[in-house]
């Protein structure tokens, strides 16, 4: 591993100060959260930031909070381990907890933050599909104010987002959802863990007692430059009674909507086929309740 080039390191105590540092010091600066993407990029991929602004001293950026309107806010610096083990998230959105639990290893999840996972804008980021599926809003702050944007519109390409260099992701908000909302995230990769998603699928819908599905959201990871919604696949199930045949059809439609590439990990054709299989499974699994254990989660991928 390479020793990094010299850089300036700041630890501001307020958001205002943090954003101002980026403005004043000009291009070439980076925010630091858990560092599990940034430090690797610096040590192994030749990234040379001129300066680094650590966000961990800024108070109020981490934690999970239920608002009076039924929405849930998650601070950007909340670790994936916190999300994976949060009683609230596990109860209301077990598939989101599950997507956080799919990341790397316990050591990584203890440092990695949800804000970092989103801001890094990797097409294969594990939490993104579930967040897009939940219609989450991102709060972005800078010295000159704050704006809110749906996570669905946040990503622009691999490593690219709508954020300007001086903007900080402070929080994400899960809007109030129906009581009968169900969901599932499936990460498909050759290894059981410690692998990147070859395909990631989040499926979310409101499930009525008669198995009618509404508000269907299907979001695909790792098969396009950004996480994408498979809107035609969603339409296949929308307002319909869930069945194996429909799930299969939705899967096939999602496969058509995916825009995968071929690389050393997998061919595009295989990724596309797996979008079909995993979308079907995610839709069917969602209706059966959350996975009970890691083994259960593993077996549900098959």
């Amino acid at each position: 591993m390479k020793r990094t080039e010299a850089f300036d390191f700041y630890q501001p105590a307020t958001l205002q100060e943090a954003s101002q540092l980026l403005k004043d010091n000009g291009p070439g600066g980076r925010f630091l959260a858990g560092g599990t993407d940034l430090v690797i990029a610096m040590k192994e991929k030749g990234l040379l930031p001129k300066y680094i602004v650590d966000l961990k001293r800024v108070p109020g950026l981490s934690g999970i909070r239920e608002n009076s309107d039924g929405s849930i806010a998650i601070g950007a610096l909340t670790t994936l381990y916190t999300i994976e083990t949060s009683a609230l998230i596990k109860k209301k959105y077990p598939f989101l907890a599950q997507s956080a639990a799919e990341v790397g290893s316990i050591q990584i999840r203890n440092r990695a933050t949800i804000g970092g996972n989103i801001s890094n804008a990797s097409p294969s980021a594990d939490t993104s599909p579930a967040l897009v599926a939940l219609g989450v809003t991102a709060t972005i702050a800078s010295a000159s104010g704050e704006r809110k944007i749906p996570v669905e519109e946040f990503f622009k390409g691999p490593g690219q987002s709508v954020m300007n260099a001086d903007e900080i992701l402070t929080e994400i908000t899960i809007p109030k959802t129906a009581a009968n909302l169900v969901g599932e995230y499936i990460k498909f990769s050759p290894r059981e863990m410690m692998d990147l998603a070859y395909v990631g699928v989040a499926a979310v819908y409101n499930l009525a007692a008669d198995k009618k599905c509404t508000g269907v959201r299907i979001v695909l990871g790792a098969v396009a430059p950004t996480p994408i919604r498979a809107k035609r696949a969603e339409a296949v199930l929308e307002g319909q009674i869930l069945s194996e045949a429909l799930a299969e059809k939705a899967g096939q439609t999602a496969a058509e909507e995916a825009k995968p590439i071929s690389d050393v990990r997998s061919s595009a054709d295989y990724r596309r086929a797996m979008v079909g299989t995993m979308t079907k499974r995610a839709l069917l699994n969602a209706a059966t309740g959350p996975a009970k254990s890691w083994y259960d989660r593993r077996d549900r991928r098959y």
């Binding site: 020793r3 050759p190 059981e192 863990m193 050393v264 299989t277």
Partner: protein, 771 residues
């Protein structure tokens, strides 16, 4: 001695457990030396090219740089079987990753920066990726001077270009055999390149002292005496002038024999005015520039009678050697010889070709050629059985080697525990019983595979054992603790023979200045060879102590016995002396009794180069059967191993705990090679996945329930009846899994790895052709 064994056969805790678990041990990669310089190499970006020009002036001018060397400063070549590998490229490069030049500097970053300043001009030559292509008539020789190289006497040059070894086995008449067969199968199998991926990457430290003319090399090399010989031969330097010191080794699996970082460190050390140089490869450099396991293309044709009797087997194996011969010739010989499998077959023909290509160098890898042959042969055994409507167990039982059988290479076999391994391994996974798992789209299957593995022969191990006046025992053995547990095993042997507690035994650090010669820590040879040497050396020390004790206790030597660290009279046990006390009375408070021994397994006739026959090809043979239960997800192609049993005939388990650990470790590696691992090399010769991100080793979560089974078929020549164990642990694994997958989905897959995508497309193809 006929007394009961006290520590042999007991599950003793590893003697190195504490220092490894607490992180106190110093591995080669961790070592720092006073006043040390940091070496970095420039690696070739071309798979096959002439070097037109190298300009090192800019690198030399960089502040902090002490030495820059190229092939011109290091005009030496080395190689065990073939002396074909330059210390640094000489005039041409033969693979991407070949060291071309190197820099020593005050710190690593400066060395790396200087390497980037070296300018090299190349002129492209044709690149050969596929060994079968590389040996077609008209191909350019990757080694144009091959015929002039020094080669081992047992080598046979192939008739076509780029073949560095052609092994032939000829028994009976295969044409006649096939004519007599009721069923013939003929298939092509493929095993890709994989890598050892030892946790500790490669490194070497070297220092040259001009005054004394001594060259010292600190390296975690698993065959320091062989490496010393190779360096001495290359430099034409007296052996006494060279010293190898082994820091602890963090795994090797075959990758750390031979010379890797050593030549670079040595070339630099001659230019640094006596300052030591460290050369350390990072993971990517380890992937591209150290060693890989041979890809193999195996053509396998078998003829059987209706009742399952094997009549003939013909195999042609192309071993992809990569750019230099390294251990390819011996992998080709020892992998091709038993490739037809552990069966009585009257007509056998094997042609093994080790072929140069423009790829990273292939060499020894745990299993030494056995997994590749077994992947073909053992799958074909199942195919034959299925076609004949027989149970795969029955067809093997009909043909399998048993005690006293004559092998197809002309050696009569003894201590054959194969049948017992087959029965126990298959029973352990309830082979033949249907799985209770019932999930749509999830297919369950069971399969197994058998192997027989020889060990490198003939070889020698020497050992010294001292007992001091404090009753402490020191073992001087050249076996390298590479994680396999030899320090524990050899300590047990000394403790047993001298009847001292385990904590009184110390293994001396490996230093070629003080440790007597040992051939190598390879080929599962150490428990047997070094075990015998340490045992005899301990007995030698014991005899001296007994002789000294006899007058002290006023009884005859014959009346004396050892126990609990004491010498005592057999009929009057209270009349005793601690062994240290005996040494003290005889030699004083600083006295030391030293036992010495040498063990060589003498083979009979050398291998016949025309027929491959030998009446003693190996000191002993290791036998194993592994059985797997797998699930295959038909919609994704994912293969999951649900449980895996591994029954290994070890002769005698000196330490059952260590045996089980070796078996488990082997199986885990084998599962990786069966399902995940593959070094992907493109048409230009570039490794596309030289990192753990995309070169997939299995993690604990990918491991099934493992059922290690120890079978003990006493080997009369081995210490306490022991054979060896380290290498076979993964040899039958892929074939067993392949057979289980075929059982699950009814489709035979001929190419490894069985990664989800490959299995998926095989299933799709089958679906299409069925439709």
């Amino acid at each position: 001695m006929s007394e009961e064994l006290t520590v042999i056969g007991k599950p003793v805790t590893r003697v190195d457990a504490y220092e490894k678990v607490t992180g106190q041990i110093v591995y080669g990669y961790d070592l720092t030396l006073p006043n040390m310089l940091y070496g970095k190499a420039l690696f070739s970006p071309k798979a096959h090219a002439k070097i037109k020009k190298i300009d090192i002036s800019k690198a030399k001018a960089l502040p902090g740089v002490v030495a820059v060397v190229t092939g011109a400063d290091a005009p030496w070549t080395h190689g065990e079987a073939v002396k074909d590998k330059p210390f640094l490229a000489h005039g041409k490069v033969r693979y991407i990753g070949e060291p071309v030049a190197a820099v020593a500097a005050e710190d690593e970053d400066t060395a790396q920066a200087a390497v980037k300043l070296i300018e090299v001009e190349y002129e492209d030559l044709p690149v050969y990726i596929d060994p079968e292509e590389a040996c077609k008539p008209g191909c350019v020789e990757i080694h144009e001077d091959y015929d002039g190289y020094r080669k081992a006497p047992f080598m046979v040059r192939g008739a076509a270009p780029n073949i560095n070894e052609h092994f032939k086995l000829r028994t009976g008449d295969v044409a006649k055999g096939f004519a007599e067969s009721d069923l013939i199968l003929d298939e092509k199998y493929y095993v890709p390149i994989i890598q050892h991926a030892a946790m500790e990457p490669h490194s070497a430290h070297a220092q040259w002292d001009k005054e004394s003319g001594r060259l010292t090399i600190w390296v975690a090399n698993d065959a320091p005496f062989r490496a010393l010989h190779e360096i001495s031969e290359a430099l034409a330097m007296d052996k006494e002038k060279i010293r190898f010191i082994n820091p602890a080794q963090g795994g090797g699996f075959g990758s750390k024999g031979g010379l890797k970082c050593e030549p670079i460190a040595v070339a630099l050390a001659f230019q640094t005015g006596g300052r030591p140089v460290r050369v350390k490869f990072n993971r990517e450099e380890t992937f591209i520039s150290t060693l890989t396991r041979h890809a193999a293309t195996v053509y396998c044709k078998s003829g059987v009678k209706k009742d399952g009797t094997l009549v003939a087997r013909e195999m042609t194996i192309y071993w992809d050697a990569g750019a230099y011969a390294e251990k390819s010739p011996t992998v080709c010989i020892r992998g091709s010889l038993p490739a037809p499998g552990p069966y009585r077959i009257p007509h056998v023909k094997v042609d093994g070709y080790a072929v140069y290509t423009n790829k990273p160098v292939a060499g020894s890898y745990r299993g030494y050629g056995i997994p590749q042959g077994a992947w073909a042969g053992e799958q074909q055994m199942d195919e034959l059985a299925i076609k004949l409507g027989m149970d795969p167990i029955d067809i093997r039982m009909k043909n399998i080697f048993v005690e006293g059988d004559m092998s197809y290479w002309g050696e009569q076999l003894h201590a054959v525990g194969l049948k017992e391994t087959l029965i126990k391994a298959t029973e352990a996974i309830e082979y033949g019983k249907k799985s209770p798992i019932n999930k749509p789209g999830l297919k369950i299957g069971k399969g197994f595979a058998c192997i027989q593995k020889p060990t490198r022969s003939p070889t020698t191990s020497n050992a010294g054992v001292t007992v001091n006046a404090q009753g402490e025992v020191t073992v001087f053995a050249g076996t390298v603790e590479i994680g396999q547990g030899c320090n524990t095993i050899l300590s047990q042997v000394a403790a047993e023979e001298l009847k001292v507690p385990m904590d009184k035994v110390i293994m001396h650090q490996l230093d070629t200045d003080v440790i007597p010669y040992d051939a190598s820590t390879t080929s599962s040879r150490s428990t047997y060879h070094m075990g015998n040497a340490v045992r005899s050396a301990s007995i030698h020390a014991r005899e001296q102590i007994m002789e000294a004790a006899a007058p002290m206790l006023e009884v005859g030597v014959q009346e004396l016995a050892l126990g609990d660290g004491k010498v005592f009279a057999k009929d009057q046990p209270q009349q005793s002396l601690p062994i240290g006390e005996v040494v003290k009375r005889k030699l004083g408070i600083n006295g030391v009794v030293r036992g010495e021994a040498s063990y060589t397994y003498e083979i009979g006739k050398d291998l016949d180069l025309e027929t491959g026959h030998s009446d003693h090809a190996s000191a002993f043979y290791m036998y194993a059967t592994q059985a797997a239960e797998v699930s295959v997800d038909e919609e994704s192609g994912r293969v999951r191993v649900l449980r895996m049993s591994a029954a290994h005939d070890v002769g005698k388990a000196i330490n059952p705990l260590n045996c089980e650990a070796q078996i488990e470790g082997g199986v885990v590696m084998g599962i990786g090679s069966a399902i995940h691992e593959e070094l992907i090399i493109d048409a230009t010769g570039k490794v596309r996945n030289p990192s753990f991100l995309d070169y997939h080793l299995v993690t604990s979560l990918d491991c099934p329930q493992l059922i290690p089974i120890i079978v003990e078929c006493h080997e009369p020549e081995g210490p306490y009846g022991a054979k060896g164990l380290g290498e076979p642990g993964l040899a039958p694994t892929p074939a067993a899994i392949g057979n289980a997958v075929a059982d699950a989905i009814g489709i035979r897959i001929y190419d490894l790895p069985l990664k989800p995508e490959n299995v998926f497309w095989a299933l799709q193809k089958n679906k299409k052709s069925a439709a």
